[in-house]
Amino acid sequence: MAHFLFFLLAIICIASVLGMIISKDQAYTALFLIVAFVCMGGLFGLLEAPFIAAVQIIIYAGAIMILFIFVVMMINLRKGVGPEKKKWTMYFAVVIAAVLVVELVLTLKGTLEPISSAALESLGSPTDLGRLLFTKYLYPFEITSILIIAALVGAIVLVKKRDKE
């Protein structure tokens, strides 16, 4: 059952990312990305991280992608960005991605073997996560709140229309 769920979610995730690469319309691109993020949330749930899965769906698929869709609507390109004229960028991108894959596989190869047998008891209940967040990681948590305030103020200041005096 878990295997079936994993392969279903993985295939939908990869297919929607491919759809995002192929589609021309920015709104469809954003919608494909939402599907990919929701599937990713399911995968996080399979990894016994229920809280992170909920956060993924609420913040990524909800908040961040709504922000993207708002900006797509505000920019509103009539005919979208045309297809790639230069063909060589496509090949270049594929070559770079292939090199990246080889590099990552070589890096992770040492770690792939011992991991596969790990079968641990349940971890990652929201209670434990919250306790860890407010004891060991208290300072990073507080710094994050300052970061969020700074980003909020920065975004408002950047986009605000200045009065012409």
Partner: protein, 100 residues
């Protein structure tokens, strides 16, 4: 029980697809979305390793990554909106002010 290296392989594939999307697409918004895909691939690897190590620290890091990504999306989209207002384009190849 799913072997954890399945998750790592999926993470590698998604990261590579995000890189391809970044290079193939030509508007700033879609390139920004490609960066978000790469973030998510990294998060998946973090969670897989957290599970194999049996510790919660990886999940905390993923939590912080998601938070920082939200802040980054707000500021980045504001900058894209400013670029569009000033230059009337969001094609990345038209923005070459520093090219000389």
């Amino acid at each position: 029980m799913i072997p954890l290296n399945y998750f790592l392989v999926l993470s590698i594939i998604l990261f590579a697809l995000g890189a391809i999307a970044f290079f193939v697409k030509r508007d700033l918004i879609t390139q920004f979305m490609a960066i978000e895909i790469m973030f998510n691939a990294a998060n998946l690897a973090f969670l897989a390793f957290a599970k194999s190590a049996g510790s919660l620290d990886g999940q905390i890091i993923v939590f912080f990554v998601i938070t920082v990504a939200a802040a980054e999306a707000a500021v980045g989209l504001a900058i894209i909106l400013l670029i569009f207002r000033q230059k009337k384009t969001i094609k990345s190849e038209d923005i070459k002010l520093m090219k000389g």
